[in-house]
Every structure is written in C-alpha cells, then in structure tokens.
Amino acid sequence: MAQVVAETPGSRERKLSAGQSVLDAQGLTTRQINQAIHRLIEQGVREIEIRNPVAQHCLAVAIKAEVRLHFRGSCGWYAAGMNDGATVVIDGNAGWGLAECMMRGRVEVQGNAGSGASVSIRGGLVFVRGDTGARAGIAMKGGVLIVGGNVGYLSGFMMQRGTIIVCGDAAEGLGDSMYEGTIYVGGRVAAYGADAVEKECTPDDRALLRRALEEFGIDASAIPFKKVESGRKLWNFSKHEPEMWRNAL
C-alpha cells in the first residue's frame, strides 16, 4: 500500500500516492460516502479503498468511471448498482440488488450476496464467491454472472441474454421463461423453470468455463457442468401446449 501523503481537512479521506486514496466510512452516511467517492474520482483518484462500510445501502451506485473501489467489509443493498465502468471489490457480503442494471465494469464479492444479484445487467462481470439468494441474474440482458456457491429460487428467470455460471446447486425454477442466454450449473438443480431445457456441454462450453473460472482459482474441469437454455416454446403463444401455457401465462 502506498504511503499516506495528505488528509483532506474535515473528512475521512486520506490521499495516497499514485492516484490512490483511503476513505474511512465509519460514522459517515450513505450520502457522505458516495459524495466522497465522487469527489475523489473528480480529483483524479483511480483507486479508492473504503474502510468500515458497515453494510450501508446504495454504496457506489451509478459510477461512470474506470476506477477501482475496494470495500473492506460488507455492503448493503444495491452495492455498485447501475455500475458503468468501475471495478468494485467487496471483501464481505452484499445485500439485495448487487450490481443491478450494470452497463460495464466488474463487481466481485468475496462473501455471499442477497437476492436479485446481477439482475438486468447489460454488460460487465459479477462474481460472488459464496452463495446468492433468490432470483440471481433475472432479466439479464448481457454480461456474465459467476457464483462460486449456490443460487436461490427462480434464478435466471426471464433471462434475455448473457451468461450465468453457478458452480454449486440451483433451487427451484432455474431459468424459468428465459428468452435467450445460457446458464451453466455445476451442482444439483432442484427443478427447472418453465421452458428451461438442459443440454450437454460441448468442448467450446468447457473451454469457456475454464477461461471464466480460472482467474478466480476455480478448477472448472473438476465440476460436472450442465448447460441450460431456452426451449423457445414460450416465445409465441400456442394453444397446442396448454399445460405449459397454463403455468406460463
């Protein structure tokens, strides 16, 4: 870690050399933390370590800059929501709506994430080393979600594009009503959702998984991944599939 070279008067910000800063968030409000992050970015800081985030909600939302934010602790709901270019690392856990609607960038959580992780992202990468709650990656429109552990109920629901990789188990309703996109699951699937179809992994799929997981220290070859895609039977209504549509409509 670089040496402390200055401290902003009246704040918890410590500027480090080479465009780095430390922000002690202890006792600060969400508003104060986010304002401090924006101020440092405007000053040209490209790496910010945030200490004591104490699981506050809505931290580092809608950051449109190629910066690295490292939270030394857990974050609450909507951490890195609407992220557009930043790399956000969370040493602890994250609440609901992690990185929701992200456009670009990278979000890594070393612990677990709550429900709705990576929902509706259009690009970028979300990595959760532990488990996620329900509805992980629903309505994803692009990008990649990697979960080292298990995912909860209805994950991948109405997925539109992108890739979800689950190294552990998936709860009921996986991939329900997905339009497009691909889900890989390494463990047990409690039950697939409507129109989610299990397929064999091809050599290309295995190569993709190896590349995606090796940077996180996960050996893809040791995990028996299966692939899940849309059966495309719910794309347009058919009165000849009454059972499927009774559940889907």
Binding site: W77, Y78, G81, S120, R135, A139, F157, N236, F237
Partner: protein, 467 residues
C-alpha cells in the same frame, strides 16, 4: 308484417334477446373457443364507471364573485417534487403526457408528443423500452420510468431526465405486467429491449430488485444517490387499494404520486383485466387525497391523476378534488389522430370502424400511431400531429381556466371540492361532495354525525324533555 290472419309473421327475427347470453357474450365465447386463451385488446375498459362527469361545478352567483373570463389572470403554473428533490419539476400547466413506450407507439408518435409538450411547457414520460433519442431531443421535461422489465434501462438516460417515475402498476391492469405482441417486436424494438425479433413480450410485474414497501424505500434512496438527489421521484400506482398504497409510498419517500385509475389505457392487455380490475380514477384520487390528509402530507407530496382524463373539464374537477396535475395518454393519442376516419378500409381489415377501434395490440394501426410498420407510420405527419396535440392541450388549459374563473379563482389550483356538487349518489359518496340540491354528504361518518345531531336535537326538543 302480418300473415293476413292477424298473426305476426313467424319468419321475422325474434327481438327478445337474453340479457345473460347477449350477442357480445356469445361472440366472446366463440372467439375464445378459437383462440384457446383470453382475448387481447388495446385501449381501455368499455365499462361505464363513476367518473368526473358525475360532478358539476357550481360557479359564482350572488354568494361568490367570479373573475372576468377573458381579462383577469388565472395562473396554471405547477410545481412537482418539492419534498426532497433539489430540482423540482416546473410545468407551465398542470398536464403531463403519460408513460407510453416506443414500441407500443411509433417513433413519429413519440416525437410528436415530445414536440407538443416542449411548446406547452409540460412533460412527457418514457415507457417500457427506455428513452427514445428523438423524444428526448424534442421534449424539454422528461420523466424517466423505472419499470419492472428494465427494458432499455440506461443510467445515462436516468441522469438525463428531469424526474424519475417508479412504476409499481398501471390503472388499466394493476397487478400484471406489460405485453407487446410479436407483431410489434420489430428488429429495432427487439434490439432496444434485448429480445428476439417477433417474440410475444410479456413483461414481469414485479421489479427484479425489490418487492415490498420497505424495499422501495431503499430503491428510492439508490435512485436519489445515482442522480445526486436532484430529481423528483414519482411513484406510479394502479388504483387498487389506494389508501394503503399511498401511505406506504409516502413512507418510502416518494416526492410525487401518480394515481392511475381503471379507465387508464394500455397498448395491449387481456380484455378482462381492463374491465374487471382496479377502481375508477375519481375514486382513486379521493382515496389518495384522504390518505395524504391522514398523514398530514397533503401539499408536501404532490398528486398526479390519470386514467380517462378526456378534456379540461375532467382536469379541472380532478384539481378541485385535490390533484396537482393530470396525466393524459389516450386523449393525446386521439388528438394525434387515433380513431380518425381516415384509411377506413384498413380499419375494416381489422374488423373495426373508426371511432370504435381498440386494436393497438395488433400493430396495424391505420393512422400510424400504435405501429412499427414503416409504411403505416408514414401516415402520421410529424408537424401536423404535434400541432394537433398542442391545440388539444391548449384547449384543456383554457377549459380549466374558464371553470376556475367562473368559480372566482385566480389560480386553477385554487379550485376545491366546495366548487362542485354531485349529480349521482355514487359520486357523492365517493367524493364526499353533497348531492346537487341537498346539503347531504353520504359518507358513513357524515351519516353517523347527522344521526347523532338529530338525536341530540330530539333530546332538546320541549316535547321530548316534557316526558
């Protein structure tokens, strides 16, 4: 029509039709027997429900002094979002254009609405599918909707808007998600929404990242943080359990509530939802105002009401009942040319007549409004369409001012319930406004008060006291 022996000709059609198995019911059953599903339609409910038409103004006579109709000023400026936002929205008149998606509407229609709104100093609203560049360029004040689908959602667009509207539901079909049938999911629309071309798009009803009111509070905080607390946050509710919903939305931190009644329209919906869900606009508005009064938040949180607002009269009555502004959707489309008697052969191809077309969901709009077909869209001439919307809303404003002046008010926002009487018992009970010709207010509390007052009178009556 006699057979010559004085008897009715038995070959004449039978006129006695069943009230249960009417022609409409028979047609409905036979259509569903073909389709194998519920029926879809655009537009709004066909039902007669209690509306603002059931109220009348009681302008100034001897007991009040009116303003000169064409000489004395009557203000219309409207400010929305004064509770928490650093930059509240200022409108020149209390009218907004409701959220309608590019996808449901053509690009020309959205752009025409934007141009008209800019000239009028009012706002337009995005819809499912996100912000259309042409509309953003045309309009000055844009409300950016945050919808459950998040189709086309872009934080840059969120920051470009003047206000944010979190859509919890819509009046036409509260509790259900949007629909865009495959015929309207063109290559352009599909790309904007990240969907396969031609797919029947069924939007989710629940937001992906929050569910209940406590969650909403944090979601609002996130949107404020994302926009530096500058922009007002509207929460749009389909009128259902309005009192509870309003209280929860206010507690969650909304700046503005949009109450959308069951007369609200949509581009596509199962028809049974349009006719059998939600409560009327007038009822929803009254419930919302009472809920805000209960919370002592009236004036602090502004109310926009929508759903079947068809002219300045409805708007004036809504303001008198406590709304800060009205929002129009269908009326603006009709001003554009919806249901105009043009290209009649194309209406006939849809099996409808101009004036009774509700086939927005097909994408075959004969006048180029609710279509993605480039040939049909050419029928809507941008400049002319924009002028018509401008003229129509201008007429609404003049009507609002006319009623306000006649009631002695120098600001349309000064209209109040006391300026009106109810024409039906239903309207009286819903609004708490006396039935015309009486001073009765038929609400349970008022009835109880009146009964108590009469009992007290009887107790004091000499004949009673003598016993």
């Amino acid at each position: 029509m006699s057979t010559g022996n004085g008897h009715r000709d038995p070959t004449l059609p039978v006129l006695r039709e069943s009230q249960i198995w009417s022609r409409a019911v028979i047609e409905d059953i036979q259509m569903k027997a073909q389709l194998g599903r519920y029926r879809m339609q655009g537009f709004s409910t066909h039902r007669r429900v209690p509306t603002f038409d059931d109220l009348t103004f009681v302008p100034c006579t001897l007991s009040r002094v009116p303003l000169e109709g064409y000489r004395e000023r009557c203000e219309t400026k409207t400010v929305l979002g004064t509770r928490f936002a650093k930059k509240p929205v200022e409108l020149k008149v209390p009218v907004t254009i409701a959220g309608m998606s590019y996808g449901a509407l053509s690009k020309t229609a959205k752009t025409a609405l934007g141009r008209a709104a800019a000239r009028l100093g009012i706002s337009t609203t995005t819809g499912d599918g996100g912000m259309l560049k042409e509309e953003r360029e045309a309009t000055r004040t844009m409300v950016y909707q945050v919808l459950p689908s998040r189709y086309g959602f872009d934080p840059d667009h969120l920051k470009m808007a003047e206000a944010i509207e979190i859509v919890i539901g819509q009046g036409a079909k509260p509790g259900t998600g949007g629909v865009l049938l495959g015929s309207k999911v063109s290559a352009v629309i599909a790309e904007q929404r990240t969907l396969p071309v031609g797919v029947d798009q069924r939007s989710p009803v629940r937001h992906p990242d929050f569910i209940g009111p406590d969650d909403l509070q944090i979601k609002i905080e996130e949107l404020r943080e994302a926009t530096d607390w500058e922009k007002p946050i509207y929460v749009k509710l389909g009128a259902s359990r309005v009192a509870d919903d309003v209280k929860l939305a206010v507690k969650a931190g909304a700046d503005v509530l949009v109450i959308d009644g069951m007369e609200g329209a949509t581009g596509a919906s199962p028809d049974v939802l349009l006719d059998h869900t939600g409560i009327p606009t007038m009822s929803g508005l009254c419930e919302a105002i009472r809920a805000l009064e209960d919370m002592k938040a009236l004036g602090q949180v502004q109310v926009i009401v929508s759903g079947g607002i068809k002219n300045g009269v409805d708007a004036a009555k809504a303001l008198a009942l406590g709304a800060d502004a009205v929002s129009i959707g269908t009326a603006a489309l009709i001003a554009l040319n919806c249901n105009a008697p043009l290209f009649i052969e194309d209406y006939h191809r849809l099996g409808v007549e101009p004036g009774a077309c509700h086939h927005c969901h097909t994408g075959r709009c004969p006048v180029g409004i609710t279509t993605q077909d480039p040939e049909l869209e050419k029928r809507l001439i941008l400049d002319e369409a924009s002028d018509r919307v401008f003229n129509f809303i201008q007429s609404m404003v003049m009507e609002m001012q006319m009623f306000a002046r006649a009631c002695g008010k120098s600001d349309v926002h000064h209209l109040e319930p006391e300026d009106m009487r109810a024409l039906t018992l239903e309207a009286s009970m819903i609004t708490g406004i006396p039935l015309a010709g009486t001073d009765w207010i038929l609400t349970p509390d008022a009835i109880a008060d009146r009964v108590a007052a009469r009992l007290e009178q009887r107790q004091r009556h000499p004949a009673h006291a003598a016993r």
